[in-house]
């Protein structure tokens, strides 16, 4: 086996045993990237020289602990000191922050080796990574298909063995949905578990940093590093932070698992439903109690999301005005013109559409009918989950209605594309932890199993995911990077 094929845990073993150095690992991973990146197109920025330097310094330090010598990548809206952070937008094409996001700083401090920045839908607005201003990323299982989004670059890189783990973000499913499409693990922590400082905001009340890995245990290790109170983020709260690896137990006996009937209704591919039901049977087999429940407001989550997220985004993206950083249209004669043309040229279509929608939903005369209404429905959605979690430990459902779709297939009608998030968005609305793990294949494409837990109970998710992993081998399947490049 080549070093690049190893998981985070396996790489740690190799390092501890002295079978390879950080430099060996980094070079192997860079070699893999050279080999496949032309097909996958996961990286916006690849810092080979910096990576080799970090690896050599790591080797010079000697004893390996934590993430020492482990390569990783960041979704390109997580700020990294001295490295371009573009948000896959023309607006920030040349933006180099002089600060690290808290998660970036913590991974750095843990000894990880940052290889580069990964593609996404512009400002995380999209579900296919086709909205990147630079290029689309492709699904390693079928290069004619999308990797999902918005963290498509992160998911594809981990699936294609270009990286053992990567960070993404999840506002409406942007970690779980691409993980599902690419057959890897995608973890979205509870809102407030991981700092958002230095993560370029899309929708501040929904955004949360997520983790991609190929094993559940790797995900727990990364969570151990990035989670926990941050004085720079008022919403990253002080709570006893557990050792997330302590939940890695092959034991779901008596775990009460609910599956919401609304997540298995029409519009969900029957193959996906069947695959997920097989997984539920597996849990029953392993001793869990599995029952059907209802989350009656599920169908309102997506419309709620398409008011709340654009509204917040319209304010979050207002700062891109050409004054302090980023793109500026120098032709404009006055400030108002400069703002308007800078933003018209710097942002792509989907971003502009959402800014327009959000501005409209907040504008005078519409606030109550749209934004305020959405906040009220948001409470109803959250209360649905509270009711279920009063009796159950875990909710299990499909992550996405279908497997990955073809590039170009869903460009055009925004609503079709938005439907991809229908099963993931409610989790963000309620601020809960969610996870997608591989649970099977349909016509060669991965299917994801979504696990949803109580707020700040990531442990139960990890435990259930770990148990499933012990009794399946979907996570070990490797994409052959086949399919025609388009």
């Amino acid at each position: 086996m080549e070093l690049y094929e190893l998981t985070l845990r396996e790489l740690q073993q190799v390092l501890h045993k002295g079978e390879a150095s950080a430099t060996d690992i980094t070079k192997s991973v860079l070699g893999r990237i050279h080999e496949v990146e032309e097909k996958i197109k996961a990286f916006i920025t690849l810092d080979e020289e910096g990576a080799i330097n970090q690896a050599q310094q790591c080797d010079a330090r000697g004893a390996y602990s934590g993430l020492d010598g482990i390569p990783y990548g960041l979704k390109d809206l997580i700020c990294s000191q001295g490295m371009k952070t573009t948000c896959a937008s023309r607006m920030l094409e040349n933006f180099v922050p002089f600060y690290d996001a808290t998660v970036a700083a913590r991974l750095k401090a843990a000894g990880g080796i940052l290889l580069g920045k990964l593609n996404l839908d512009e400002f995380a607005m999209g579900s296919s990574t086709e909205q990147s201003a630079f290029f689309p990323t492709r699904n390693p299982w079928d290069l004619t298909r999308v990797p999902g989004g918005s963290s498509g670059g992160s998911a594809a890189a981990v699936a294609a063995r270009e990286l053992p783990f990567a960070l993404g973000t999840d506002t409406g499913g942007s970690t779980r949905q691409p993980a599902s499409y690419c057959g890897v693990i995608g973890f979205k922590p509870t809102y407030g578990r991981v700092s958002r400082y230095g993560v370029v905001a899309y929708a501040s009340s929904l955004d949360q940093v997520g983790v991609f890995s190929r094993e559940v245990g790797d995900c727990a290790q990364v969570l151990n590093i990035i989670a926990g109170k941050d004085p720079l983020d008022s919403t990253c709260v002080e709570l006893e932070k557990p050792d997330f690896t302590s939940f890695l137990k092959d034991d779901v006996k008596d775990l009460k698992i609910a599956y919401p009937r609304e997540y298995f209704q029409k519009g969900i591919d029957s193959g996906v439903k069947d695959t997920v039901k097989q997984a539920l049977l597996k849990y029953e087999e392993l001793g869990a109690i599995v029952e059907e429940v209802s989350l009656p407001h599920s169908e309102y989550a997506l419309p709620t999301y398409y008011l709340v997220a654009p509204a917040e985004a319209s304010a979050n993206l207002a700062r891109f005005d050409g004054v302090r950083y980023g793109f500026r249209d120098f032709q404009a004669e006055n400030v108002v013109g400069m703002f308007s043309s800078t933003r018209a040229e710097g942002f792509g279509d989907e971003v502009k559409m959402r800014i327009m929608l959000g501005t409209y939903a907040l504008s005078s005369g519409y606030y109550d009918a749209y934004y305020l209404k959405a906040l009220k429905v948001r409470r109803l959605i959250k209360e649905d989950f509270d009711n279920v979690f009063a009796k159950f430990d875990l909710i299990v459902a499909p992550t996405t209605p279908t497997t990955a779709f073809k590039l170009g297939e869903q460009v055009g009608d925004p609503l079709t594309l938005y439907m991809n998030d229908i099963l993931t968005v409610p989790v963000n609305m309620a601020g809960l932890p969610g996870m997608s793990i591989p649970c099977g294949f349909l016509e060669g494409m991965p299917v994801g199993l979504q696990l949803i837990g109580r707020a700040f109970d990531e442990g139960t998710l990890l435990r259930a995911a770990y148990a499933f992993e012990q009794h399946s081998d979907y996570h070990q399947a490797k994409p052959d990077l086949g399919g025609e490049l388009i």
Partner: protein, 479 residues
């Protein structure tokens, strides 16, 4: 037609914290452009606000000083608008749930007392500063300095209870003194730490509905507030009398021309699209917290006024003046530690000292005279070592140099001559040299005494103790 003026004031006060409201940059005034900034107050991508606790405590104290209800629960909202000095293109402010509301303060104008309602006081962050070459309409480009961006502000909105520019000024002065006493702001209008926008309208007496209102911005002195309101009221009345239509608009005060001018050529619709800021958890303000802050409040001007009237028998007017600022009151209080008669202290402070300060355009904080020195001088007068007239000269030197009056009179040989033997000698000389006046005196012309005393004072270059001179002179003339 007779018109009634209706005025409401919106006052922005900078809270005197060490650091800004949502980041750790210094809140000091006057630094080089863009040197008190960080990615947070410059609105960089990914940056988040974290609230300064001291800001909240100052806001609560201000609310208590203004007799406000302090909210149990409040939150922050985003106020969205684009401007080059507003880095995030939204201002973090408070919309529907301000930290303080329903307060009041009392003013007195021409002996008439009046209570002015305070609608609300809310927290917000300041924007940066735009520097133009020339005026805003003629400048080819502008420069943005973000030092002020993120400075904590309390915006205090009055009810439209004010009826004249004088009342508006009295309201501002009172508000300023309350905030100074509460210790929450420097209230320096010249540095912009107290800024006023005035909403002005007029209506015929008896009319219930308000007339068309204009908002005057950029009022940075008490005088400007008065002048701008007077100008605007006159403009409104003339427009109504000429049958012209007034438009609701924002106007700016042009200090050099002493006029108000419309700020926008075409009226732009404002739609701030307020919504709760998801980055900032709401505040729950416990009654214990409010009480603790209430107990930590220093003596407020009203209490101080009562106290000094009581203790020193001052008039309400004098006591009112002395309690305009905590610095004035502290000066007075310290003087009273060394000198018994508060009335005399007050007279000197309001008279001589105030005159000298005004001449130099200084405030009491910049005055070089120490309270102990002032008291020492008053004691010297009582002891007859200097005359009242000499005291004024000494006081001027104290003001210029900060020296003690003892030192001054020693150094300059200004001590009053109260030695009887010395005075007697001089008086006998004067009597000998002015037989005519002595004759007049003995013929019953008592006025002649004045002339003789004047001669003695002249001979002593004013240093003779006048009371003693009178005594000895009378004795000698009658003997």
């Amino acid at each position: 037609m007779n018109f009634e003026t209706v005025i409401g004031l919106e006052i922005h006060v900078e809270l005197k914290t060490r650091s800004k409201i949502f980041c750790s940059c210094s809140n000091e005034f006057g630094a080089e452009p863009n040197t008190n900034v960080c990615p947070i107050c410059s609105g960089f991508p990914g940056m988040l606000p974290v609230l300064n606790q001291q800001v909240v405590e100052y806001a609560i104290k201000a609310g208590l000083a203004l007799n406000c209800e302090i909210a149990d629960y409040c939150k922050f909202d985003r106020k969205n608008y684009f401007y080059p000095d507003l880095p995030k293109a939204y201002q973090i402010s408070q919309f529907d749930l301000p930290i303080c509301k329903k307060g009041y303060l009392d003013i007195e104008v021409d002996g008439v007392k009046k209570r002015i309602g305070i609608t609300r006081a809310h927290l917000e962050e300041d924007a940066g500063k735009l520097v133009h070459q020339g005026t805003i309409s003629s400048t080819p480009f502008s420069l943005v300095d973000l030092n002020r961006s993120g400075v904590p502000l309390l915006e205090i909105v009055s009810e439209p209870d004010l009826r004249s520019s004088k009342e508006a000024r009295a309201y501002m002065e009172k508000l300023r003194s309350l905030l100074l006493f509460a210790g929450v702001s420097d209230c320096k209008m010249e540095e912009g730490s107290l800024r006023c926008d005035a909403n002005v309208s007029v209506r015929p007496y008896g009319q219930k509905t308000l007339g068309t209102r204009t908002e005057i911005k950029n009022l940075n002195s008490f005088r400007a507030v008065e002048k701008a309101i007077d100008f605007e009221v006159q403009r409104h009345i003339e427009a109504i009398e000429d049958g012209e239509e007034l438009i609701q608009e924002t106007r700016t005060w042009e200090e050099d021309q002493q006029i108000t001018r419309s700020m926008r050529s075409k009226e732009e619709a404002h739609d701030y699209r307020y919504f709760p800021d998801p980055d900032l958890p709401p505040l729950r303000i416990s009654r214990e917290w409010v009480n603790d802050l209430r107990l930590s409040m220093p003596e407020m001007p009203e209490q101080a006024r009562e106290r000094i009237m009581d203790q020193f028998g001052l008039s309400a007017y004098d006591a009112g003046l002395l309690t305009l600022s905590p610095d004035l009151l502290a000066f007075f209080d310290e003087c009273t530690h060394y000198y018994h008669d508060g009335k005399i202290i007050a007279n000197w402070m309001m008279g001589e000292m105030s005159k000298l300060l005004n001449q130099k355009n200084l405030d009491i904080g910049q005055c070089r005279i120490r309270p102990a020195h002032m008291a020492e001088m008053l004691n010297l007068i009582d002891q007859g070592r200097i005359s009242g007239k000499m005291a004024k000269e000494v006081f001027q030197v104290m003001f210029d140099t900060g020296s003690s009056p003892e030192a001054i009179i020693k150094e300059r040989g200004m001590e009053q001559i109260s030695d009887e033997a010395t005075l007697e000698k001089i008086i006998l000389e004067v009597i000998a040299n002015n037989p005519g006046a002595v004759e007049d005196y003995r013929n019953g012309k008592k006025k002649a005494t004045g002339f003789l005393v004047g001669q003695v004072m002249q001979a002593t270059r004013g240093q003779a103790n006048p009371a003693l001179v009178n005594q000895i002179l009378a004795r000698k003339l009658n003997s």
